[in-house]
């Protein structure tokens, strides 16, 4: 009590130094654990008899082979109950030292006497686990004996005393329990078949569960299934693999472009990325969008992924779980085994031909511009200022002199290599298990002068000094260098940045003035000032280094049998350092170099972030009769602190000194920000006969991000499951062998709003008095003291079934999610003095169906398996505060609107109906203020007989009606072939770059179709492209329906062909596999752009579905090898 009181006071007074307090708590737990353990030996027999607990002799870690599985359920029936580690452990124990447990000893004695009387002998044999590389750990026992089970060794060999007429029961988690009559034989050979339902242990919130016993919607993906997919970010590997999870590769920029949507967008603009938890450690991802530092997680370190989808699965993560949770388990060592493996691949990336922009070549552009000026002379009295006469500018006077000219898009790209080298060493003994992974990854971009390099390291170690104590230490440092991929004053992605900007350049102009010398400008006569984007790409100099360090330490103590206390400290350190230089040759849209040295600029931004999480958990796991129960209670605290600084220098004597130190003027600023979360959580899982499951969980979160009045929130959930196929009345047919129904309901939250938005903030609003700057302060951000998290209430109904002896597994889920108090900046009138207030606004409904089907199509020498998933998802806005729509109020750069009765972020703009083809059209139809005969005619949506901004309307949904993925794997002898297919149907994409590529002011290169423009009533073109008449062109440049395309696609994401060499070929190598893989192999879509997964704004669903021109997605041809020593 004294300790805890002290802790509390200390924390209040020295908040920043909370870590030592956590350490105190941590050691308190250790102390309590050890104390309890000492007492435990004496009290256990009594408690055992009271609780009717069988098998109290298990060493403490038996039920906990992994750092996180404090809640792992034990099997109820005797076969499932004896897990392999447990049995192996017991076997080794029996061999190495006398049993300490008197209770067990007594039973063993009784056993041996029984056997003696019935003439028992020693039966030996081999158990083969089909399809498994690990043959050890099968439990073998005499049926009916109740005790005396043994376990197979690494070669699958066992030895047991058994009567000649006995029946032996072979059981192994994940395999069908098999009974074999001894019939006097002394040597048996048994093969256990896989049991598809119990095979998998799935990582769930704060623990593990057998897949068969899950009552919630969780999908597991083993890293080994996706090992051949080259990826900077792990998300890329999961594309098309998990029902209900949309993963978009929004651009080809190496390193940070994966966007997740678990069951659609759960939120408005407050972050839709799932919470990523690595080995129990919730990562501090960027709240403002994107995936934060999760792209620094090295995919090579990962052993498996668990995607938690419904509220019952996620609610233990409380206020940040509404977007789903991805639990990542990293590689750990297996007891009794030592292994070295190496993964190597090398690939070449190229940009596919499909999707490159279809723009005018030099001759076409000169022809277009010739006509453009001819029309100006004829209709607008235009005079060439250079000559003073009405003549066509020289550049365009003779189009026939030009050929194809420069294709600026092609000029930017090249074939680029990517490579990955990874080594893992793992070793496990009784006392220690340790796994170490080292990776070097290097990806050059298909745009010149871009790329990412990563050095990553992870060691997971667990120490078991005494039988009831486990101590773990995991550390994972990573260092990543991003070259020109993190944006800057001129970025690669986005409207009028490098990729999209180059498209606007004149095809009449070569990138090169002479060999090795750039043309500085790419504007022909009358064009907007465009720099040479190839030059800009190649001299770009923005570098970011990222150092991340994930570390966690835990102590797990079994206080009494089944009762564990576990305390964990997680640390997440991220240091980022960004340097850029913009010299005299720097140009961008509108500015052609050279610039004066006084304008040269160097920037340095850096931030240091640490996040610590302290978790203290108590778990209790017990069985009595047909009942199993496990209980979890815990308390966790998390704090994140970031300090950041930014230095800029301007004025450089020479481009040779691109650092702030050489600048003539220097400015700088620094700041810090932090957030905290304190939570209590509890869960109960109960089942009866492994047939009826019921569970309930609750978490209470207090967050610094919310208003003083609303800091705390509670997130309960409940789930039930019924394994119908276990019922006696269930017809035992060969067709349907397993059937389970699930149902869950619960609440989760979303707190991704950034820090301090609940507080009204002031900022410097200075003014000049008496010739000097005087300090001013004004409220510039309006706070909301009632701000709290948004809450999702989610119902999930599901069924899992197994057909044809495990060859077909089907999982189905229906969900209906109602999200209330959506966090979003509520637009308020500018007349209030502010633009928005962070608000819990509105209610949304999200619903859908997830279907996942796995089949073993063909078995035998030739194997063929298929995994298929399809997900339907939709949403509707039910209410908004003041019924104020979000977005769609600006004439420019405002492409979406969220409104009641519609989906989140539907595309929004004018409806193009054609042109005013002639005077009678012009008289007949409503007009915009600048309409003329031949200009664009938009639909009069509100019917007020005039066209203006009020005539914009909804132009389409940005979320697909359904998405699907299919993986087919084929095997024959040593060969394996895998094909991954993914697709989406029903969404619309808006190509916002068309405001430039269909610009009719003669200032950019444009789409080929612009040549069919209206020039006069007699020469009206194709009726779709308006006149170039000065002053009338703006309307056609505004958001309209001609920019909207179907986003449907079918993609062959990956094709991999591998060959595994037989073990006998190389006796010092356990296994070697070589493979060739084609990533982003083929794309079938009618979307004319490069990438139908494009999403410029990544995380913000209110502005989704936009394509402003982005880094091309490369096709990767790679070769790789996996070697095991």
């Amino acid at each position: 009590m004294t300790i805890s009181t002290l802790s509390c006071k200390r924390r209040v007074s020295v908040d920043r130094n909370f870590l030592p307090v956590c350490l105190c708590l941590f050691f308190t737990f250790c102390f309590l654990g050890v104390a309890a353990q000492n007492r435990g030996d004496t009290v256990r027999p009594r408690r055992d008899s009271v609780m009717k607990m069988r098998d109290s002799s298990k060493p403490v870690w038996d039920t906990m082979p992994r750092p996180n599985d404090t809640l792992m359920k034990r099997g109820l029936d005797s076969a499932v109950k004896r897990e392999k580690d447990s049995a192996a452990r017991r076997a080794r124990e029996a061999a190495s030292r006398p049993r300490r447990d008197t209770d067990s000893g007594a039973v063993a004695k009784k056993d041996s006497s029984a056997m003696d009387t019935s003439g028992a002998g020693r039966v030996t044999g081999t158990v083969e686990l089909s399809g498994s590389t690990d043959q050890s750990g099968t439990s073998v026992e005499v049926k009916g004996a109740g005790k005396g089970a043994v376990s197979t060794n690494a070669q699958g060999v066992f030895s047991i005393r058994a009567p000649a007429d006995a029946t032996l029961v072979f059981s192994h988690v994940g395999f069908l329990t098999t009974e074999v009559d001894v019939k006097g034989k002394l040597n048996l050979s048994v093969t256990l078949a896989r049991d598809a339902n119990t095979l998998e242990q799935v990582t769930v919130s704060y623990g593990k569960q057998a897949k068969r016993e899950l009552s919630s919607a969780v999908t597991k993906v083993d890293a080994s299934e996706v090992a051949d997919i080259p990826a900077t970010e792990f998300g890329q590997k999961l594309q098309g693999k998990v029902a209900g999870v949309q993963i978009q590769q929004t651009s080809g920029l190496p390193g940070n472009n994966i966007v997740f949507r678990v069951r659609g967008a759960a939120s408005l603009s407050s972050g839709n990325q799932p919470l990523v938890v690595v080995d129990g450690q919730p990562l501090n991802s960027d709240a403002t969008g994107g995936t934060g530092d999760i792209n620094l997680v090295d995919p090579e370190q990962i052993e498996s992924y668990s995607v938690l989808k419904d509220a019952a699965a996620t609610s233990l993560y409380g206020s940040r779980a509404s977007n789903g949770v991805i639990l990542i388990t990293t590689k750990t060592a297996k007891i009794g085994k030592s292994n070295i493996s190496a993964n190597v691949y090398y690939g070449l990336q190229t940009v596919p031909q499909r999707g490159r922009p279809d723009l005018m070549n030099a001759r076409e552009f000169a022809t277009f511009m010739n006509g453009f000026y001819q029309d100006k002379i004829n209709n607008e009295g235009w005079v060439n200022p250079t000559t003073g006469t009405a003549t066509i500018p020289a550049d365009y006077a003779n189009p026939a002199q030009y050929g194809k000219g420069t294709d600026w898009y092609n000029a930017l790209i090249h074939t680029a290599p990517m490579e990955n080298y990874s080594v893992n060493y793992s070793v496990g003994t009784d006392k220690v298990s340790s796994s170490t992974t080292m990776t070097y990854f290097n990806q050059d971009g298909v745009l010149y002068n871009t790329g990412t390099k990563r050095f990553a390291f992870r060691t997971n170690a667990e120490y078991r000094p005494v039988s009831r104590v486990k101590l773990g230490l995991n550390i994972a440092p990573a260092y990543q260098i991003d070259h020109n991929t993190r944006g800057g004053q001129l970025a690669l992605n986005g409207n009028r940045q490098v990729v999209a900007g180059a498209d606007l350049s004149s095809p009449l102009i070569s990138p090169w003035a002479s060999k090795g010398v750039y043309n500085l400008s790419t504007a022909s006569y009358g064009m907007y000032a465009l720099p040479n984007y190839l030059q800009q790409e190649r001299i770009m100099d923005n570098n970011q280094t990222n150092f991340s360090f994930l570390g966690n330490a835990y102590a797990d103590v079994e206080i009494i049998h089944g009762l564990h206390a576990r305390s964990t400290i997680n640390g997440d350190i991220l240091n980022q350092d960004y340097n850029s230089y913009y010299g005299t040759q720097f140009g961008y849209f509108g500015v052609i170099p050279p610039r004066p040295p006084a304008s040269s600029q160097a920037m340095n931004n850096s931030n240091n972030t640490y996040t610590w999480t302290n978790e203290n958990l108590l778990t209790y796991d017990t069985h009595f009769g047909n009942h199993s129960l496990d209980v979890l209670v815990g308390y966790t605290t998390q704090k994140s602190y970031e300090s950041l600084r930014s230095i800029a220098g301007t004025g450089f004597a020479t481009d040779g000194t691109p650092w702030v130190s050489a600048a003539s003027t220097t400015t700088g600023t620094s700041n810090s920000t932090s957030w905290t979360l304190a939570s209590a959580l509890a869960r109960v899982n109960y089942d009866y006969k492994k047939k009826y499951f019921i569970s309930g969980a609750i978490r209470n979160d207090g967050s610094s991000r919310f208003g003083v009045n609303k800091k705390y929130g509670t997130f309960p959930s409940g789930a039930v499951a019924w394994v119908a196929s276990e019922e006696k009345f269930f017809p035992k047919t060969r067709i349907l062998s397993f059937l389970k129904f699930r149902g869950s309901y619960g609440l989760t939250g979303n707190y991704n709003i950034g820090n301090y938005t609940q507080t009204s903030l002031l900022s410097g609003t200075n003014y000049v008095l008496s010739g000097s700057t005087v300090l001013g302060e004004s409220i510039t951000t309006l706070g909301n003291p009632n701000l709290t998290w948004e809450t999702s209430k989610q119902l999930d109904l599901g069924a899992d079934l197994t057909l044809f002896k495990g060859r077909v597994n089907i999982s189905y889920d229906y969900y209906n999610k109602r999200t209330e108090g959506m966090l979003s900046p509520l637009p308020i009138p500018y007349a209030s003095g502010y633009g928005s207030i962070q608000y819990n606004e509105g209610t949304f409904r999200i619903w859908g169906h997830d279907i996942q089907i796995s089949t073993d199509n063909i078995k035998g020498p030739f194997t063929w398996t298929t995994d298929f998933n399809i997900s339907f998802n939709d949403n509707k806005v039910l209410s908004l505060v003041n019924n104020t729509p979000i977005g769609g109020t600006g004439m420019y750069s405002d492409y979406n609107r969220t409104d009641v009765g519609h989906r989140i972020g539907e595309l929004y703009g004018f409806v193009f109906e054609g042109l005013y083809m002639n005077e009678s059209d012009y008289e007949k139809y409503p007009k915009y203020s600048t309409s003329v005969v031949g200009s664009a005619r938009m639909k009069d949506v509100n019917g007020d007989d005039t066209i203006d901004i009020k005539d914009r309307t909804f132009l389409g949904r940005t979320n697909p009606k359904f998405i699907f993925g299919m993986t087919n794997n084929f095997g024959y002898k040593g060969f394996d072939l895998g094909v991954v297919v993914a697709g989406q149907v029903g969404n619309k994409i808006m190509n916002t770059n068309l405001q430039n590529l269909r610009n009719l002011d003669g200032v950019f290169n444009v789409e080929k179709s612009m040549q069919y423009r209206w020039r006069s009533p007699e020469d009206p073109g194709n009726g779709k492209v308006p006149t170039t008449r000065s002053g009338s062109t703006e309307l056609y440049r505004l958001v309209n329906s001609t920019w909207v395309y179907n986003g449907d696609y079918l993609a062959i994401k990956n094709i991999t062909l591998g060959y595994t060499f037989g073990k006998k070929m190389l006796h010092y190598i356990k296994g070697i596999r070589v493979y060739a893989s084609l990533q982003n192999a083929f794309m079938f879509t009618r979307y004319p752009g490069q990438n139908p997964e494009v999403n410029d704004n990544k995380d913000n669903q209110t502005v989704a579905g936009l394509d402003g021109g982005s880094y091309p997605i490369p096709r990767v041809m790679l070769f790789g090898a996996n070697v095991n020593f």
Binding site: G702, N755, Y756, T759, N766, Y767, I828, G833, D1001
Partner: protein, 518 residues
Amino acid sequence: MKNIVLFLLVAAIGCSKKFVTLYPEGQVNEGNFYKSTADFQEALVGAYSPLRDAANVAFSLEEMRSDNTFLDYNAKDRGGSGTEDLAEFLDNSSNTTIETIWTADYQGIQRTNVILDKMKTPPAGMNDSAKNQITGQAEALRAHYYFELVRLFGSIPLYLHEVTDAKTAVVNRSSVDEVYAQIEADLSDALGKLSPPTKFPQSGAITKGMVATELGHVYLTLKQYDKAAPLFQSVTQMGYALLPNYADVFKTSNKNSSESIFEIQYKSGTDNQASQFVYYFIPTTPSTGAILGPSADYNNTEGSLNIPTQSLINVYEPGDTRLDASVGVIKGHLDAQTDFIPDSVVSILSNKDTTGRGYGFTTSAAHRFIKKQYNPPYTTPLEYNTDDDWPVYRYSDVLLMLAESLNEQGQSGAALPYLNQVRKRAGLPASTASGQAMLRDTIAHERRVELAFENKRWFDLVRTSQAIPVMTAYGTDQKKAFPFLLPTSYNVTPNKMIYAIPFRETQVNPGLGQNPGY
């Protein structure tokens, strides 16, 4: 043992409230501000700064809308056509400039509302003088912002208290009369709290002189000449005087001089207080070095706005020194990209005909521009960074408003001396105009040239009901001179006397409605 664990949990939850309560360390917030006199003075300074945001765009709504200025058609960058629409009467509710000035003025209003609400419980130790200064200046600022808004938009929402949440952020419109009543009340109260300037140059803060002038201007606008005249009279007793030389008034060395009643303060340098008016007023050009300083050769993408019209040049009387002081001509050449490169600034007097050659207006070899904010030599190596203030009220304006308010009351004789003070300084003979109507025209003409490019012309035209005839006739001439103008341009209707309410406001405050015709 279980009790201990339980206690640990309870204790941890108990002290978590502190743990989850954080305020930003690097930013002032409401939790630690508005506690002292100094805090309120800083808040008051913050209420001044939106003046600049409004002034930075006001010229396109208040001067380019009139016959004083137009623009150079920029064929290469059609993105700025919203500003052109304002000049050509093609504007609508989606125009971004009207939203900018609306937002700036209301931001100023909100900041004054915060001060005035919080001043109801002033911090301990604040003396009466500080109370009067802070309250008086805040009231005057609020009135100033509302006066601009009501003239631009007509009936508008009247926010008079601090906005604290989504509910108080939405206010419906008040009538024009109610807005003026509030302006009058605020200025009248401020008049009693503030004092005239004690020395010149002044600090730039609001004085009794500014409040009296603005209140007089309000009455003039409301045609309550009997209330206006005494206020202007009082200003003549506060120590203000015309500078001897008109051109000197706009020099950065003469800021806040005895002629200045109120001007919006700027300062060049790196602390974000600089103005950049001259960059708007010179042509769009890839190279500014020849005219804006040899050490800084910048690409100017903002220019070609607020270009003095032939119509204005034509009305300067011969010998009026104000023409050369107000309008300059930039000579230059075309580069290989046919972009205009300035070479030098020359006098308008010897280069009166600079309309350019035909349609390629931006690329003609000579451009008129406003000289009032052109103050060479430029020595700073920074672009878009000038020292020029923006004049709001000058003493000559007061004299002309005084003359007008007297003339409108039939006191033409009393009015004339004030008018002639202004003419004399401009190097012109005294006016002998007689009769109310003739003098009215003379004063209007004098206001046009004396206050050219100071955002007076459009409001004067509207105030005196001259906007429709004057701008319609001007529009006809414009279309002849510039064939690129659309047939629908210069359709000057009564609805166009005020601007549209910004579209976004009508969307997020649906009760607001829209001004007729938009």
